[in-house]
Symmetry: C6
């Protein structure tokens, strides 16, 4: 796999959130490397409320990490 995570530092909180989404997806890719199977699963869980909430939980966990890494994007004093 190519470099996909050079740094946890992002310019804005929103970019950090996008990175958290990315971090949550890569583990799925590494566990199920077959893109065709993933594509088959996607419409299924994207219409399943419980799966969507579970995805949101993973994103929340990664966002905590990214936010801490960025000092919560607070202006340095």
């Amino acid at each position: 796999m190519d470099t996909w995570l050079p740094s946890l530092i992002t310019e804005t909180p929103q970019d950090g959130y996008d990175l958290a989404v990315k971090l949550s997806r890569v583990a799925v890719k590494l566990t199920q490397p077959d893109a065709e199977i993933r594509d088959r699963l996607r419409p299924e869980y994207a219409q399943d409320a419980e799966a969507l909430i579970a995805v949101s939980q993973v994103v929340a966990t990664h966002f905590a990490t990214v936010a801490a890494a960025n000092g919560y994007w607070k202006p340095s004093k």
Copy 2:
């Protein structure tokens, strides 16, 4: 997507809680961008106790991050 997360800093704990709710919802939007499908899912999970608890778990995880970012809203000494 427009800017929806300019900062993690909020004036009060309650505003921070509202931000945590927002943070928990955006991941669902990003995973299921079709608003019509989301609208169809909503009444379903909003009447499902386990789904409501799971949503509350995601909010709790984000609230931890927002609270830390705000130094727990303690008056600075």
Copy 3:
């Protein structure tokens, strides 16, 4: 919604635990604002062991935040 979370600071650990319970319930209210539906769901999940454990998990996550906010209620030196 009126002010329900003026502060994360509590006098005792036990008050902090009660606040964690409150924090876990508000997200449910915000997701399902209809009190009648919530009242219908309550007896159901309150007799479901897995749902009770899931509630306890949410409380644990919020308690971690409240405890950190209060410096774990350690006497200041």
Copy 4:
């Protein structure tokens, strides 16, 4: 409810673990105050592997808090 959580400080890690177990149980009591119903649920979930693992997850979350509160029981230097 009487005072059941005067402090998060324990003498040993093992006492802290016991406190984490207690913390995980109280939320269940507060959500289902009827002792008779809880007694009915107990044998059920105590024989359900997934429920036991879920209980263990709640304990782990509370143990993290208790351990942090106690400075991980490291001898002060």
Copy 5:
């Protein structure tokens, strides 16, 4: 129960991981003290992918605590 957790400090990260596994198992023992029932449940969940992943989640939570307690096993400067 005898002393089983004298300290969170371990010599290596791997020992810390083993301790996290132990910490995740004790909660199950305390909730289901009957060894015979636990022995009956074990082969069942050990062949259930979702249960194995849930166990791994508990271990991850405890490992976070143990790692923090050990200062991440970084050589002190």
Copy 6:
């Protein structure tokens, strides 16, 4: 088991993510030591969206630990 976790320190965030994936897998191995059974379970959960999301959650929890251990890979000042 041989030494498989000599350190939590990695050179890059991406290496840290790979370590988090490894950490999430070892708990499964320790709970189900029979490689044949694990091999039988793998194709099953690798095609189950909810299981894949649960794996991603475990990875997220370990990644938080590894990232903290590495000071978030920020250049030291």
